[in-house]
Amino acid sequence: MSRQHRTPLKLTDNVVEVKSKFEAEYRRFALKRNGPGGFQEFYRLLQTIHRIPGADVMLGYADVHGDLLPINNNDNYHKALSAANPLLRIIITKKEGEPVVFATNSLQRRKKGLGLTGLRTSVTGSTHSRSRPGLMIGMPQNFRQISSIIDVDILPETHRRVRLHKHGTHKPLGFYIRDGVSVRVTSQGVEKVPGVFISRLVRGGLAESTGLLGVNDEILEVNGIDVAGKSLDQVTDMMVANSHNLIVTVKPANQRNNVVHRGTKTSMGNSGSVGSAGSNNSALSHDSPSPASQSNPITASNSIAEGDSDDDDDDEDDDGDLILENDCLAPYDSHLVTNSNNTNLNRDSPGGRSHNPGAARPLPQSVSLPNSVGASLSDSSTALSNHNGNPAHMSSSSQESMREDGNIITL
C-alpha cells in the first residue's frame, strides 16, 4: 500500500469513464459520478452492455493501487465510482468453477502509466517473480470483522476504545487481566489509584491477533461502564458477560502506537477497522484504510452501528439465544430435536431477504452456536435454506431454518 501511483488527474466534471471487460471484449461508456442508482442497476447495465443478460457474473474493479477489488453491493460500487480518476476499470468474470480470488497485487501494475495488460483473476507472481506474493483477500462474505477501533473522535488521544467480535471467530478472546496501580495526574499532583491492567495475551488469541491490545494496557471501561472502584473479579465477570461483543476502553501502555499520532486520517471518519480472514498477519493495519475494510460491507455497516448505544448489543445478545420448540408431541429423541418440524412459529419472517443472496450477511452468529445443538445448523445448511428460500434438509423431517439479524429458530 506504500506503492507510489500517479498523481490523480484533476477532475473537471462529474463523469466517470468506465472501461469494462468481459472475457475478451471491452466496452467503454460514461457514468455520472453522483448519478442515482446502485449496484443492481449497474449490474444490469453491464449485462445489457455486454449482451449477457441472465449470466451470473461477478464484478471487479481496479483501484488506485492497482488492486482488483469486488463490486457486489452499493457501498463498494460507490466506492469504486468515487475512486475512479477518471477511468474506472471493470472486470467481469463468470461465476463458475474455481472462485475468483481478489487480492492485493493481483493486478500487475506498471510503474509508469496505468495501462492494464495482464489482468488476471487469480494470484499472480509466476510471471513477475520479483514481486512479492500478494496478500490473499477472500470473498467479502468470507470476511468477518474481529475487531475495530471506535469512537476515535470522542476519546482523548491517550485512550483507545477497542471492539472485539467473538462471533466472527473460533479463537479464544485470549487475554488476562490483573490488579495494578494507575498513576493519575490531578490538580493535587500525582495520585496513585488502583487499576486493572492487561497482564498477558494468549498467543494466537483474538486479542493478540488484533494488535490493538497490549500487555500493561490499563482497562478504563468495559462496554461503556467505568471500572473504577470495581474489583478484579467484577471486571472479569463484566468482560465475560460481554464477551460476545466486548468493547474495552484502554489506556495503552505504549502511547506511540496511538491512531491519532500517525498522520492525519480525518478522511477515514471515526472508525478504523481490521478485517481478517483468520490469519494473524493483519495486525497493526488498522490505521490504514485497507482495501478489505473499505470494501467489506460488514465493516461498513458495523462501523455505522458502532456509534450507537448498547441497544445494538442487546439485540445481538437476545437474538443469540437458541430456542428450540418442539410442540408436536413426538417421543423425545435428542437427535430429532434440532430437526423437528413445526412451521407455525414464524418469529420473524425471512421476507425478501432470501431472494437476495448477494446481500446476505455472513452469518456472524452461526459459529457461536452451541456445539451440541448448533452443530446441525452448520453454516452451509442454514445458508442454503436461507438463500434458496426453501427447506434444504428434506431428509429427516423437513427442517426449516430461518435467520434474521442473527436469530436462529428451529421449528
Binding site: 488476562y176 458477560a241 443469540g320 437458541l322 418442539n326 451440541s372
Partner: protein, 968 residues
C-alpha cells in the same frame, strides 16, 4: 399513589443460633440475665425467651471476662487487649437497649513493665461502686465505677501483702499474679486475693490490711467463698481442692480442714473452677470442672457434681468456657465452646433443660436450609407433637433464666426453617419470632446401612465406671458417612409431604404420620446417564438401603426412595404435591418421579460428552490434582529460569515472584466448560406451553451451561391417577447465548404475578392465577434476568446484571412485599443475593432494578452460599457455622427483639430473687416470643450505612417509620 412497598429497607435484625467462639460467661442473679462474650468482641445478653441484647466492641479483641455489677443494670467486660468496658441497659421509649458507656485501661507508674497493669482477675464489688482489678504483677487496683475513677490510695500492692506473708511460706517466694478475687458473701469489707503461687490473703478493704493468710502450696486455679462466709475452697493445678476455715480470729492457726484429689492416685489435670452451694435442707452441692486423670481422661471436658451420695461427671462435647449455678440451687448453666447446656439440679437424674435460644444449629454441620412461611396450624401442631415425643428426656422444669420483659407482639404467622445436616438429619426450627426454637428433628440415616448403630445413645454410661461419666449436650460434628448429608429439602406445607435429597444422589419422599410405623423403604434406581458411554464415575458409591423393615417413630416417615445413578450430589429438587410428582437434578441430568405410583416418569441426561469432570465424581480431587500438577510444573520452570541467571540478584527475583499479581482470564464461556450439564434449578408450572388456549402442567429445568429444558406433562384424571401413567413430552429448549448458569425459573400469570405454589389456591390461600392474559417465563441466570413470552418463546425484556456492574447472582427468591402503609397493597419481586454480597430487589414482570443494599461481606463466600429468602422478603444466612443472621427487606414483616429490663429493686440482700413470671414453661415455649426494636433512634439509610455498620455490625437497625409501625 402508593410508594413502592419496599421503601424501607431493613438491615440485619437478629442473630439466631449459638455465638461463634464464645470466650466468656457472666450472670446477674438480680437481673436474671446471662451474658456471653465472644472472641470477635461481641457481647450478647439473654434473659427470658425473646429478651436478647447484642453489642459489639469496637476493638477487634476477644472478650475474656464479663461481670455484672451486683444489683445494677451495668456490666463490665475485659478484653484481650487489657481494656475494660462498661455497658448498660438503658430504657428508651419503654424498651431497653444495650449501650457502651465507658472504657478504661489501667495505667501503671511510669516505666513499670506492662505486666504490672495486665488485668488477670476482676471482682465487681457488691456495693456496685467498686471494681477490684488483680494484675499479672500481683497488684490489686481499686477503681470506682461506673465512671472508672482509680482510687489509688486504696490499691493493694504486692509489697503490702508480701511484707506480711509468714516467713515459713516457702521462703517467701514470688507470689506471682493475682489468680482470683472473691468477696466474703456476708462481709463486703472482706475480699480474698488468690495468688498464682497458691497463697490466699483475706484483706480488709476498710482497714486496708491483711486479716488472714492461707498458705496453700499448689498452683492456684480458683477460689470459692461459701455462702455463710465460714469457709474458703481452693482448687489447684494438680487436680486437688482444699477447704479452709475463713475468718478465724487467730491469724496463725488457720488450718486446712480438708484436702482431696477427687480423681486421684494418678496425676490429674487442674480443677479450673470450684463452687459449693448450700441447700435449704441437706448437704450442699459441690461442683467443679476438670480434675480428670491426665493419662486416661485428660481429653474429656467434665464438670463434676457431687451432692450427698450422688456423684456424676458431666461429660461435655467441647471445651468448657465457664459455668455458674442458679441459686437454690436449681440449675447448672454451662457454656462450652459449641453450646450452652443447662442442667436441672432439682429433678431426679439431673436432666438437661431444653434451651429456648442459643441452640447449636451446627450440632452437625449445616449443609442446606429451606424456609417455609405461614405454616397451617394443623401441620404446625403435628410437627410440634412429633417433636415433643423426641424431647421426653428433657427436664420438665421451666427455663431458669427469666430476666427482662418481652414486649413484642406475637409473630404474625408461623414460619419454619428447615436445616439439612451432614449427618443426614433435617431439623425443624420455629423461625416465627426472635428465638429460633428447635421443634423436631428428622433423621434419614435409618433407611440406610451405615457404620453407626442408630441405637447408640449418648447418654448410656457403663455401670460402675469411674469417674462416673454422663454425656451431655448435643454437639456432634462427626458424621459417620458423608454420603448421608442432606443437600436439598422441599416441604409442602399443605399436604405435609417432604422431599429430602442428599449427597449420594438419594431422594427420600416422606409424609407426616402421627403414629410409629414399621416398613421397608423400596429404592428406585434412576440411571441419569441413559446409556451414555465412555464415562467412569470415580466418586462415592450409592448408599445401601436396608432391606429389612425399619421402625420409624412418629413424625416424617419415608415411604419411597429414588437413587440417582451415578450417585452424584442432588443439586436441584422440587415437589408438586398436587400432581404428586418430585423432580430432581444432579450434575448428570434430571428426572421426574411419580411418588403416587412409585414410578419414574422422565430421565434426561444433560451431560456434555466433552465434560469429563462431571463424570469422574467429586470434582475437588480431580481439580486439585490438575492444579497441583500445574503448579509443580510452574515451579520447575521457575527454578530452571533462576538457575540460568543465577548471577542476578536473587532477592529481587524472589520479590518479583512473590509480587506476581493475581490474573484473571477473560474468556467467553463455551459448551466445553466443565459441569455445563449440572442442573441448577427445577420448577413446576401450570402454564401455556404449546398453545395459548390450553394450559398444561409443565416441568422446567435450568443447567449450569445456560440451557433451559421444558417438558409438557400429561396427568391422568384424578380418578385414574393411580392407574394411568404420567407422561412427559419435550416441549422447548432454550440455550441462553451468554451461557451463564440458570439459577432460577419463574412463570408469571396474566397479571404478571408469579404462579402460586401447588395447593395454595386449593386452600384458599392465594388468588388463582390469571389464565386469561398471556403468561411469561422469567429465566434468571447468574448474569441476566430475561423475560420470555409463552407459549411461543421469544425474548421480551431483560436486565443485564453482570455486564453492568460485574456482580453475579448467587441466590434468588420470589418474595411478596406488603406495603407498610396500606394493608392490602403489595407486589411481588425477585430477591437476589449477588456474589458481591449485595441484595437486590428486581420488580416483576418488568425486571427493573428496584433497590439494592449491601448485606453480606463479599469475602464471606459461605455466608452468601447459605442464604435463604422467605416468601415475605426476609432472609437468613450463616454468619458462622453456628449462627444465622436474619435480615428483612420488607416493611411489613420484621422480626426484632423488643424487650425491657428494669433496674432491680434493691433490698440489700445479695441473694434477692425476682419472682418468676408466670406462663413461661417449657410446654409452650414456642408461643409468645416476640420482637423488639433496638436502637430505635438510629436511622441508618442505605447510603450512610457504613457509619452505622461499624457500630451495628451485630446489632439491630431500625428507622422511625418502622418503629411507629411495629410499636402498634
Amino acid at each position: 399513589t402508593n410508594s413502592p412497598p419496599h421503601d424501607s429497607i431493613k438491615s440485619k435484625t437478629l442473630e439466631h443460633g449459638f455465638p461463634h467462639q464464645p470466650s466468656a460467661l457472666g450472670y446477674s442473679p438480680s437481673l436474671q440475665l446471662l451474658a456471653i462474650g465472644t472472641r470477635s468482641g461481641a457481647i450478647k445478653l439473654y434473659g427470658a425467651p425473646g429478651v436478647e441484647f447484642m453489642g459489639l466492641h469496637d476493638e477487634n479483641a476477644a472478650v475474656t471476662q464479663v461481670h455484672f455489677l451486683p444489683h445494677q443494670v451495668e456490666l463490665v467486660t475485659l478484653l484481650d487487649d487489657n481494656s475494660l468496658h462498661m455497658w448498660t441497659l438503658k430504657a428508651h421509649k419503654g424498651l431497653s437497649e444495650l449501650l457502651e458507656i465507658g472504657r478504661f485501661t489501667l495505667t501503671g507508674p511510669p516505666g513499670a513493665p506492662p505486666s504490672v497493669t495486665r488485668v488477670t482477675a476482676v471482682l465487681a464489688h457488691s456495693s456496685g461502686e467498686l471494681l477490684l482489678l488483680g494484675t499479672e504483677g500481683g497488684h490489686v487496683f481499686i477503681v470506682e465505677v461506673p465512671g472508672f475513677r482509680e482510687l489509688e490510695e486504696r490499691n493493694i500492692s504486692l509489697d503490702q501483702v508480701a511484707s506480711s506473708v509468714p516467713d515459713d511460706y516457702i521462703g517467701r517466694r514470688n507470689l506471682e499474679h493475682v489468680e482470683t478475687l472473691q468477696e466474703n458473701p456476708v462481709d463486703p469489707n472482706q475480699v480474698v486475693i488468690g495468688y498464682g503461687r497458691g497463697l490466699m490473703v483475706i484483706w480488709n478493704l476498710e482497714k486496708q490490711q491483711a486479716i488472714q493468710h492461707i498458705p496453700a502450696t499448689q498452683q492456684l486455679e480458683s477460689m470459692w467463698w461459701t455462702e455463710d462466709g465460714g469457709h474458703l475452697l481452693s482448687s489447684h493445678s494438680d487436680g486437688s481442692y482444699c477447704r479452709w476455715m475463713a475468718g478465724g480470729e487467730d491469724m496463725n492457726e488457720e488450718e486446712e480442714e480438708k484436702s482431696d484429689i477427687p480423681y486421684g492416685h494418678f496425676p490429674c489435670k487442674a480443677i479450673s473452677k470450684i463452687i459449693q452451694l448450700p441447700t435449704e435442707k441437706g448437704p450442699p452441692f459441690l461442683l467443679f470442672s476438670g480434675g480428670m486423670p491426665r493419662a486416661s481422661y485428660g481429653d474429656r471436658h467434665c464438670i463434676t457434681v457431687i451432692h450427698s451420695k450422688t456423684h456424676v461427671a458431666l461429660d461435655f462435647t467441647s471445651r468448657i468456657i465457664d459455668f455458674f449455678a442458679i441459686r437454690d440451687p436449681s440449675a447448672l448453666v454451662v457454656l462450652v465452646e459449641e453450646e450452652l447446656v443447662v442442667i436441672d439440679l432439682q429433678t431426679e437424674g439431673w436432666p438437661v433443660i431444653q434451651t429456648p435460644y442459643l441452640v447449636p444449629l451446627h450440632s452437625s454441620a449445616i449443609t442446606c436450609s429451606h424456609h417455609v412461611s405461614a405454616i397451617p396450624l394443623k401441620l404446625w401442631e403435628r410437627v410440634l407433637a412429633a417433636g415433643d415425643l423426641q424431647s421426653k428426656h428433657y427436664s420438665k422444669e421451666p427455663w431458669p433464666i427469666t430476666g427482662g420483659q418481652n414486649l413484642a407482639p406475637d409473630p404474625p404467622q408461623r414460619d419454619l426453617l428447615l436445616t439439612g445436616h451432614e449427618d443426614g438429619t433435617v431439623r425443624f426450627w420455629d423461625a416465627s419470632g426472635v428465638c429460633l426454637c428447635p421443634m423436631y428433628k428428622l433423621s434419614t440415616s435409618g433407611v440406610f446401612h451405615t457404620d453407626a448403630d442408630p441405637n447408640d445413645n449418648m447418654n448410656q454410661g457403663t455401670e460402675g465406671e469411674w469417674p462416673p461419666f454422663r454425656k451431655v449436650g448435643c454437639f456432634d460434628p462427626y458424621s459417620d458417612d458423608p454420603r448421608l448429608g442432606v443437600q436439598k429439602i422441599h416441604l409442602c406445607k399443605y399436604s405435609g409431604y417432604l422431599a429430602v435429597a442428599g449427597t449420594a444422589g438419594q431422594i427420600l419422599m416422606l409424609e407426616l404420620n402421627d403414629e410409629a410405623a414399621e416398613h421397608t423403604v423400596e429404592a428406585k434406581v434412576v440411571d441419569l446417564l441413559q446409556g451414555q458411554e465412555g464415562f467412569r464415575w470415580k466418586g462415592h458409591t450409592q448408599l445401601d438401603v436396608r432391606e429389612e423393615p425399619v421402625l420409624f417413630p412418629p413424625g416424617f416417615q419415608p415411604f419411597t426412595l429414588v437413587q440417582c445413578q451415578p450417585p452424584a450430589v442432588v443439586t436441584a429438587l422440587t415437589l408438586h404435591s398436587e400432581w404428586k410428582l418430585v423432580a430432581f437434578g444432579t450434575s448428570h441430568g434430571f428426572g421426574l418421579y411419580d411418588y403416587q405410583q412409585w414410578n419414574n416418569v422422565l430421565v434426561k441426561c444433560t451431560l456434555n460428552p466433552s465434560d469429563q469432570l462431571a463424570m469422574e465424581g467429586p470434582l475437588s480431587r480431580v481439580k486439585s490434582i490438575k492444579k497441583s500438577l500445574r503448579q509443580s510444573f510452574r515451579r520447575i520452570r521457575r527454578s530452571r529460569v533462576s538457575l540460568r541467571k543465577h548471577h542476578v540478584n536473587n532477592a529481587a527475583e524472589l520479590a518479583e515472584m512473590e509480587l506476581a499479581p493475581v490474573q484473571r482470564k477473560i474468556e467467553a464461556r463455551s459448551s466445553d466448560d466443565s459441569f455445563t450439564g449440572l442442573v441448577r434449578t427445577i420448577y413446576f408450572a401450570d402454564t401455556f406451553l404449546s398453545d395459548s388456549s390450553h394450559n398444561t402442567p409443565s416441568l422446567w429445568a435450568g443447567t449450569n451451561g445456560g440451557c433451559v429444558f421444558a417438558y409438557m406433562l400429561r396427568l391422568p384424571a384424578a380418578e385414574r391417577r393411580t392407574d394411568e401413567l404420567v407422561t412427559a413430552q419435550p416441549a422447548k429448549e432454550i440455550q441462553l447465548m451468554h451461557r451463564a448458569p440458570v439459577v432460577g425459573i419463574v412463570v408469571l400469570d396474566g397479571h404478571g404475578a408469579p404462579l402460586p405454589e401447588p395447593l395454595e389456591v386449593a386452600h384458599d390461600l392465594a388468588r388463582s392465577p390469571d389464565m386469561q392474559g398471556s403468561h411469561h417465563l422469567v429465566v434468571i441466570s447468574e448474569e441476566q434476568f430475561k423475560v420470555f413470552t409463552l407459549p411461543k418463546v421469544s425474548a421480551k425484556m431483560k436486565l443485564k446484571l453482570t455486564a453492568v456492574d460485574g456482580s453475579r447472582v448467587r441466590r434468588v427468591g420470589v418474595a411478596w412485599f406488603g406495603s407498610s402503609r396500606s394493608e392490602d397493597y403489595g407486589e411481588s419481586g425477585l430477591v437476589v443475593l449477588t456474589n458481591q454480597g449485595d441484595v437486590h430487589v428486581v420488580s416483576l414482570p418488568t425486571v427493573k432494578m428496584q433497590v439494592h443494599y449491601p448485606c453480606v461481606r463479599r469475602e464471606d463466600v459461605s455466608g452468601i452460599a447459605s442464604c435463604v429468602f422467605t416468601k415475605h422478603g426476609q432472609g437468613f444466612y450463616l454468619i458462622s457455622p453456628s449462627e444465622f443472621e436474619r435480615f428483612s427487606l420488607s416493611a411489613r414483616y420484621l422480626v426484632e427483639p423488643r424487650c425491657l429490663v428494669e433496674v432491680p429493686f434493691r433490698t440489700g440482700s445479695a441473694t434477692q430473687r425476682r419472682p418468676q413470671p408466670d406462663g413461661v414453661s417449657s410446654a409452650h415455649r414456642y408461643k409468645s416470643f416476640c420482637v423488639s426494636v433496638f436502637y430505635s433512634d438510629l436511622k441508618p439509610t442505605i447510603s450512610s450505612k457504613s457509619a452505622a455498620r461499624r457500630v451495628m455490625e451485630h446489632a439491630l437497625l431500625n428507622d422511625e417509620s418502622e418503629y411507629r409501625e411495629t410499636e402498634l
